[in-house]
């Protein structure tokens, strides 16, 4: 199986800070690839380059779009989502808090519905084409609400959901765009053990049933080790390990960089705000 996403020699510099330094890696479809590393290692920056929020100075990001290859480093953020089929979630949840849960998922299908409504003209006239499309969109939203366990809350305001449910909603919303690659930025952050286990089941089922590639940034090692088919470890913007989870876990360089000198210790305390959370200068 060839790679779904191929990143080659990616470098991203903010003023004097080299956040991502000559990074190359590949991620496959039907696999969960996790990017891990200490805070400030450049994980979120990689995500922002992939999804068009940053424009890397050097490097190529190629996504296999089933027949044609999209070079993401040249595309606008919304085109990456619309044409290349890369969906993402955010470290600090970005749902449409004032809209209902269902509306969040319908907005995610904007481009499909916009075409069906003939750019609002048909929708204004109430053409049956649009009504059918809207019914289909609601059906798809319902399907995903079912999968993330939020059907009961479909008509509630999204901002009123508990934290864990908001995270699941964000994943469902990303899935409603029918992506080829789903990028999740710390989906387990702030979840309790039960919710983490639920998340693991959800991600595995997305991988297995939708057949898409999942790229994951995560600090929660139980989640990472539980579901990753492939692990990439970053430190100071550079890749220090790449391989199957078990092999990486035993890599001395990883243990040193990630867990400090103590083997098997708990995660080090948060030492710095994650680099990616900052805006580019």
């Amino acid at each position: 199986m060839t790679a779904l996403l191929e990143v080659e020699h990616l470098s991203m510099r903010f003023e004097g800070l080299l956040a991502v330094d000559d990074l190359s890696f590949a991620a496959r479809g039907r696999e969960i690839t996790a990017i891990i590393g200490p805070n400030g290692a450049g994980k979120t920056t990689v995500f922002n380059c992939l999804t068009g929020f940053y424009r890397p100075q050097v490097g190529r990001i190629a996504l296999d779009g089933g027949g044609e290859t999209h070079f993401l480093e040249r595309m606008d953020g919304f085109r990456i989502a619309r044409e290349a089929g890369v969906a993402r979630t955010f470290q600090n949840i970005r749902i449409f808090a004032g809209m209902t849960v269902l509306e969040n998922l319908i907005v995610a299908q904007h481009n499909v519905l916009m075409r069906a409504s003939l750019y609002s003209v048909g929708g204004l006239l109430g053409l049956p084409v649009y009504r059918r499309a809207e019914a289909e969109a609601v059906a798809k939203a319902r399907l995903w609400l079912d999968r993330v366990g939020l059907v009961e809350r479909a008509d509630d305001v999204a901002g009123a959901l508990p934290y864990g449910a908001q995270r699941r909603l964000e994943i469902a919303r990303a899935m409603c765009t029918e992506p080829r690659l789903l990028c999740l930025d710390e989906p387990a952050a702030g979840l309790n053990a039960n919710e983490s286990a639920e998340l693991i089941r959800l991600l595995v089922s997305i991988r297995d049933t939708q057949g898409i590639g999942i790229l994951l940034i995560e600090h929660d090692m139980s989640v990472v080790m539980g579901i990753s088919d492939h692990l990439i470890v970053l430190d100071y913007g550079r890749k220090i390990a790449d391989g199957a989870a078990d092999a990486v876990r035993r890599d001395p360089a990883v243990i040193k960089a990630y867990l400090g000198e103590e083997e098997g210790a708990a995660l080090p305390p948060v030492v710095a705000e994650d680099l990616g959370a900052r805006d580019p200068p």
């Binding site: 990456i80 969906a87 449409f96």
Partner: protein
């Protein structure tokens, strides 16, 4: 007053309110001395002299001192508690929503019957016409500010473009109101796009400043481009709308039949006023249906999503440029229609009708009404337009009352008069009726 409060547990309790009241009185003194304390009096012979009014200052400062003291004592005793933050419960409740839903059709019926009600008068119908113009403008601006969340302080520019384009098109090409109406809307919409492009990257305060500048630019161009716009003198002789080609005139011009002749009723100037009222009522209702419908279409939901989170919109493949431009263009178009109506109603327009004051009033209608609420706009427009009318008896204190009323509304209903967002669609049943 002090004696009652001695029971308060802390011994310092009396000193703090006193200090507080002294500070308030000092501020009042500093403000009142230059504002109230001095007055120029006409001496009769050419010239003026300065008179002092320290008595008034003393009364004012004394009132502030006592009022402040009473207020903080009352607050201390728990009679009057300050609300720390706007409470989320300040939203309209479900029961109120049902009432609002019922109120919509009733209001329309009332509006349609208004000119024929026994207490109706020419003045009342005229006032109602003004209210409806503001309602229409409010609904138009609501698309930009309430739905798309783009703070536009120059909305009056589109109103002006609509009015002037109707006046000029009518003068140059001899088009009637109904023929020129779409032209006005389209021109205003293209001005919306012109404004939209440079401000695409801006949000919040920065956007507000640029739109404010745009509004002023349009007004200044209208004032100075005398050859086309007539400059400060404006344009007069704007054609009045006709009823299916029948003018509202006492005597028919060559080869035409007037409205009164056709129906065989005696001519009365009220007929035109009532007709104009029904024109704006129809335009406003169409605007309402149009925006309500748009809200439930993908474009409307994208506007709201953009207001909530632009970054998330981009991550979902929504082109923020198109969404913003469409909001600007549609908001501007509705403003343009209202402008064309304004021009035909007045028969005369000048840049003076399109000052920042107008933009501020329209924005106030949207914000006071409750952002995004259609019925809220109606309520706020009625309040804001009729309040100064009722206040006429108070002459110069009219604006003071007006300001106090606005502050009061924002204190008691910080999210607007009617702040209930109806979902654009529901899972259980088809799209719910929006307010």
């Amino acid at each position: 007053m002090a004696a009652e409060r001695r029971a308060a547990p802390a011994r310092m309790s009396l000193l703090d309110p006193l200090k507080d009241a002294v500070v308030a009185a000092a501020i009042a003194l500093a403000l009142a001395l230059p504002l109230v304390g001095f007055e120029t009096v006409d001496t009769g012979s050419p010239g003026t002299r300065v008179a002092t009014r320290f008595g008034w200052v003393a009364i004012g400062v004394g009132a502030v001192f006592l009022g402040r003291l009473a207020l903080s004592l009352a607050r201390r005793s728990g009679l009057w508690r300050r609300r720390a933050a706007p409470r989320p419960q300040a939203r309209t409740t479900t029961a109120q929503t049902h009432a609002i839903r019922l109120a919509g059709p009733l209001l329309v019926l009332f509006a349609a019957a208004l000119p024929f009600l026994p207490f109706s008068s020419r003045y009342l119908v005229d006032l109602a016409t003004t209210v409806l113009i503001y309602i229409m403008l409010g609904w138009g601006l609501n698309v930009v500010v309430g739905l798309a969340g783009l703070l536009d302080l120059g909305y009056v520019a589109f109103y002006a473009v609509g009015a002037y384009s109707f006046a000029l098109v009518a003068r140059w090409f001899g088009l009637t109101f109904w023929e020129a109406l779409p032209v006005s809307g389209l021109l205003a919409a293209s001005f919306g796009l012109i404004l939209g492009f440079p401000v695409l990257r801006l949000r919040g305060d920065y956007l507000a400043i640029v739109t404010l500048g745009f509004g002023e630019m349009v007004r200044i161009i209208l004032t100075n481009w005398s050859q086309v716009t007539g400059g400060p003198n404006g344009i007069n002789g704007i054609p009045r709308p006709s009823f299916l080609g029948m003018p509202f005139l006492p005597r028919a011009p060559e080869g035409a039949v007037t409205f009164s002749q056709f129906f065989g009723i005696p001519f009365s100037p009220t007929q035109r006023i009532v007709f104009l009222y029904f024109v704006i009522l129809a335009l406003a209702l169409i605007t309402n249906l149009f925006t309500l419908r748009l809200r439930r279409l993908p474009i409307g939901r994208a506007w709201e999503a953009l207001r909530e989170d632009e970054i998330a919109c981009r991550a979902l493949g929504i082109d923020p440029t198109k969404v913003k431009l469409s909001a600007f263009a549609i908001g501007a178009m509705l403003g343009g229609f209202a402008g064309a109506f304004f021009a035909t109603r007045q028969g005369f327009i000048s840049p003076e009708s399109f000052t920042f004051q107008e933009s501020a009033t329209i924005l106030a209608i949207v914000v006071l009404g409750g952002m995004g609420s259609q019925m809220g706009v109606v309520l706020a427009a009625v309040v804001l337009v009729t309040l100064p009318e009722f206040g006429r008896a108070f002459a110069e204190f009219r604006m003071l009352l007006f300001g106090a009323a606005m502050v009061a509304i924002m204190v008691w209903r910080p999210r607007g008069l009617l702040a209930q967002r109806a979902p654009s669609l529901r899972l259980a049943r088809p799209a719910a009726e929006a307010t």
